[in-house]
């Protein structure tokens, strides 16, 4: 047993940590008395309210981010009559008139909210729009903070949250360096919030830079919780520098914007978890925050954080230990910022296997016992199901031996936790030659050739040294890769049937390290890292003719899990994929799934999913790996009930609402060639 593991074991014996779902002692019990649970709506009550009002108040639906609506006007019988009701451009014409050079990314990943009969959405540059739900016409557009390109420029955000005090409805968003509150009626800022209407989110300290986030805030009770990062190295998944600023998570007073608390994602000296960073590496390690959507149980007063990996995770010789709270899902007391519990999915990450998708919340019954559950996916393709009150696994997690590292100085964990239930979302976790594409003899031959200088290896095989000698091994090739099997798009839960729907893609990854001397950079503080400084260049490492995939289908699929049993009810490919590629002409193949990132919408009647888009980075490069179809699936069988063609591929998560007696579905679309826009569907 290593020194660190011994220390961890001692800590567990002392009660700092429990088995499996590790529980820290709550450092404050005050919130339970000051905020009785009954004061705050349960998830079920939030969902019921959505049914009554037709609203969609948070971009994940309710605060549990279940992507579920109880609306049922669009059903299996009439969904074939779904038509496009309206579209609107990713940027309102009034903005492009003022700033003609605004040309946003086509990866428009926003999901609108619907409150009190008005639709609100971040536009393609992250400014808010109020939209007439029936026509798509503009009600108002949030103006840049100042009339300059510097303030106008930006990126879309996945979503916003809302908060109200009587008739005062506030829209809460993160944009660039700042947190804003916008008045829902006027589109104007609350100037009393923060300093002159905004809160500066940039952190102070070593290795910090500008603030960046992609998903957006959540409001829990009266606290705005913000993830994101202020690390100068961006997401921290490239380069040869190990020092970085931690992506601490913060809570702000919803009325004033005052900072209430900071949760240190890498423990400070003297705090539990600090000793899981050997050689005092916690003192200079960074990133490790959350960029995925957040969820919360307001009754429990807990916000759930899907935490990511450490800086440049592919080599960890400088950070011996399990490295808490990397790759954890953690519950934080929203009143105090204190951690209540955490569960670590990956010890000492070497693959960038971070939490993916929101921690989806739902209440399930297992063996007659009612459990307030949390379902957290990871890039590795597993779904970790926990009791969200305690962090304890619903089904046992087993620590199993995993391959050792061959890199000098590395401290790969000898074991990793494997969920015994449910089965993995990913169907490919141990890559072998049998998994190479064989849809035609030519493709199989090309795949054999393309992978000939790679070691096809089981998941959790640590990265290997690259050899540039003739015929030498370039890297190990494992599945899932570091874009994940799931990504932010996965996860939806139907509280009526206790079904979880996972959305995953199949995309292995080459992990090959080179010494820092080969990094071609001025200064390196890491001994090794990925060839390009990133593990994200798998297609450059393993090129196939015409960008075809080198593994067998499905390239993307839905997994429907009966959470009461922890068993898979069905799996289904999530789109056409490459079946229409010329290389497969005449084979009459079924849907092969898309190597992309569509997000699901579940309603009382149906499951909806698009086919993703080539505007989404880190997805399949073949022009056939995405599509324009928006598909309605039977929730209990996975069979396609109906499909409608959209103007482009889905880039954001779909949502639904009821307005004046009609149910609408809205989703953001775009592609490399097609400009971003919002599309609304309704029955005709």
């Amino acid at each position: 047993m290593s020194r660190l593991r011994f220390a961890a074991a001692i800590a567990m014996c002392l009660g700092l940590a429990g088995a499996g779902g590790t529980v820290l002692r709550a450092r404050s019990g005050k919130q339970a008395q000051t905020n009785p649970e009954s004061q705050w709506p349960s998830l079920a009550e939030q969902t019921a309210e959505m049914g009554k009002t037709g609203d969609w108040p948070y971009y994940g639906g309710n605060k549990g981010f279940d992507r579920y609506s109880p609306l049922d006007q669009i059903n299996a019988e009439n969904v074939k009559n779904l038509k496009i009701a309206w579209t609107r451009p990713g940027i309102d014409a009034s903005l492009t008139k003022d700033f003609p050079d605004l040309n946003p990314s086509h990866y428009y990943d926003a999901t609108p909210v619907m409150v009190d009969g008005v639709l609100y959405a971040p536009d393609a540059i992250g400014l808010l729009e109020a939209i007439d739900p029936a026509t798509g016409q503009t009600i108002w557009v949030q103006q840049p903070y100042a009339p300059t390109m510097r303030e106008a420029a930006g990126r879309s955000m996945r979503g916003i949250d809302t908060w109200r005090d009587g008739s005062d409805l506030r829209l809460i968003l993160v944009r660039g360096n700042y947190l804003y509150e916008v008045n829902a009626k006027s589109g104007k800022l609350y100037l009393v919030f923060g300093a002159n209407g905004r809160v500066d989110l940039r952190m102070k300290g070593p290795y910090t830079g500008r603030f960046h986030d992609s998903s957006g805030p959540i409001v829990v009770r009266n606290v705005i919780v913000v993830g994101g990062s202020s690390a100068a190295n961006g997401a921290g998944d490239g380069g040869f520098i190990k020092e970085a600023a931690p992506d601490n998570v913060r809570g702000y007073d919803v009325r004033t914007g005052k900072l209430l608390w900071t949760f240190h994602v890498i423990p400070l000296p003297g705090h539990a978890g600090y000793n899981t960073w050997g050689d005092h590496s916690a003192d200079f390690s960074g990133n490790a925050g959350t960029w995925n959507p957040l969820s919360a149980d307001e009754q429990l007063g807990l916000v759930y954080l899907p935490l990511k990996s450490a800086t440049n995770p592919y080599y960890g010789g400088w950070r011996p230990g399990d490295n808490l709270f990397t790759d954890c899902v953690a519950a934080v007391d929203v009143e105090t910022g204190q951690i209540r519990w955490y569960f670590q999915m990956i010890h000492h990450d070497l693959w960038d296997y971070e939490s993916e998708g929101p921690p989806v919340l739902g209440n399930i019954a297992v063996d007659g016992k009612h459990i307030k559950a949390l379902m957290q996916a990871n890039k590795n393709g597993f779904l970790y199901v926990l009791d969200r009150t305690s962090g304890k696994p619903v089904w046992p997690m087993v620590e199993r031996p995993v391959p050792a590292s061959t890199i000098p100085g590395e401290h790969a964990s000898p074991t990793q936790p494997f969920p015994t239930k449910p089965p993995a979302l990913s169907l490919l976790q141990d890559l072998t030659e049998n998994d190479l594409i064989n849809l035609t003899p030519e493709l199989h031959k090309e795949a054999l050739q393309a992978t000939s200088r790679y070691d096809l290896a089981p998941m959790y095989t640590p990265p290997a040294m690259r050899s540039d000698k003739p015929g030498g091994r370039l890297a190990i090739l494992i599945s899932p890769g570091d874009w994940g099997s799931p990504n932010w798009n996965t996860g939806a839960f139907d509280p009526g049937t206790d079904m979880y729907y996972g959305v995953t893609m199949r995309q292995p990854e080459a992990f090959g390290l080179v010494p820092a001397a080969q990094c071609n950079c001025d200064k390196a503080t890491m001994a090794y890292n990925e060839t390009e400084g990133s593990g994200a260049n798998h297609y450059l490492n393993v090129p196939m003719p015409d960008d075809m995939p080198y593994v067998k289908p499905p390239y993307g699929h839905i997994t429907a899990i009966q959470m009461n049993q922890g068993s898979v009810l069905w799996r289904a490919a999530d789109g056409d994929g490459i079946r229409n590629a010329p290389q497969l002409k005449g084979l009459h193949l079924p849907m092969l799934g898309v190597q992309s990132r569509p997000a699901a919408l579940v309603t009382k009647t149906l499951l909806f999913l698009g086919e993703g888009s080539d505007a989404i980075i880190g997805t399949g490069r073949s022009p056939y790996e995405w599509g324009k179809k928006f598909i309605a699936y039977d929730k209990t069988t996975g069979k396609v009930i109906s499909e409608i063609e959209l103007p482009s591929g889905t880039t954001g998560g779909p949502m639904t609402y009821m307005y004046k007696g009609k149910q609408f579905i809205v989703v953001a679309v775009g592609s490399r060639k097609d400009a971003p826009e919002l599309v609304a569907l309704t029955l005709q």
Binding site: D101, L102, R150, D237, N537
Partner: protein
């Protein structure tokens, strides 16, 4: 004005108009025909752009322009070229100046953006010329076409 002078003047005006139309048509034709293959930047400008790139872009798009860090796309190669094929170069200028760098969009000046654009053209195999790329309005009339 006598009739003869009137017709002379009218003829001159018509000829001048025709000449003007022809000249205008030539300008328009030339403008419409300008493409990224026509040596539209200088080596010095590309060198300046490379420095801006190293400062503001490399962290995500990498020295190789292969991208992959922080969700950055490749800025070189088939997919990049096909994305911009057929569009006015102003569109790519707009994309850069209004979205990059991703953690500080809008922070590059117009000149820095033009220089980065020159560097990207160079990195993608487009030949340099004698005239610097710019000002931004001139990019409306330059079409992005794939390298030969």
């Amino acid at each position: 004005m006598g009739k003869r002078n009137y017709f002379l003047t009218l003829t001159c005006v018509i000829l001048a108009m025709l000449a003007g139309v022809a000249a205008f048509a030539e300008v328009v034709t030339k403008a419409q025909n300008a493409t990224t293959r026509d040596g539209i930047y200088t080596l010095a400008q590309a060198a300046s752009g490379k420095a801006v790139y190293a400062r503001s872009c490399t962290v995500c798009h990498l020295d190789s322009l292969a991208g992959g860090v922080n969700e950055a796309p490749a800025l070189k190669g088939k997919q990049f070229l096909s994305e911009w094929e057929g569009q006015p170069l102003r569109s790519l200028f707009g994309r850069i100046i209004s979205t990059m760098p991703s953690d500080d969009p809008g922070s590059l000046s117009e000149q820095e953006t033009l220089d980065v654009l020159a560097y990207l053209l160079q990195a993608n195999g487009y030949r340099s010329g004698k005239k610097r790329l710019g000002p931004p309005d001139a990019l409306n009339k330059i079409q992005f076409v794939a390298t030969k």
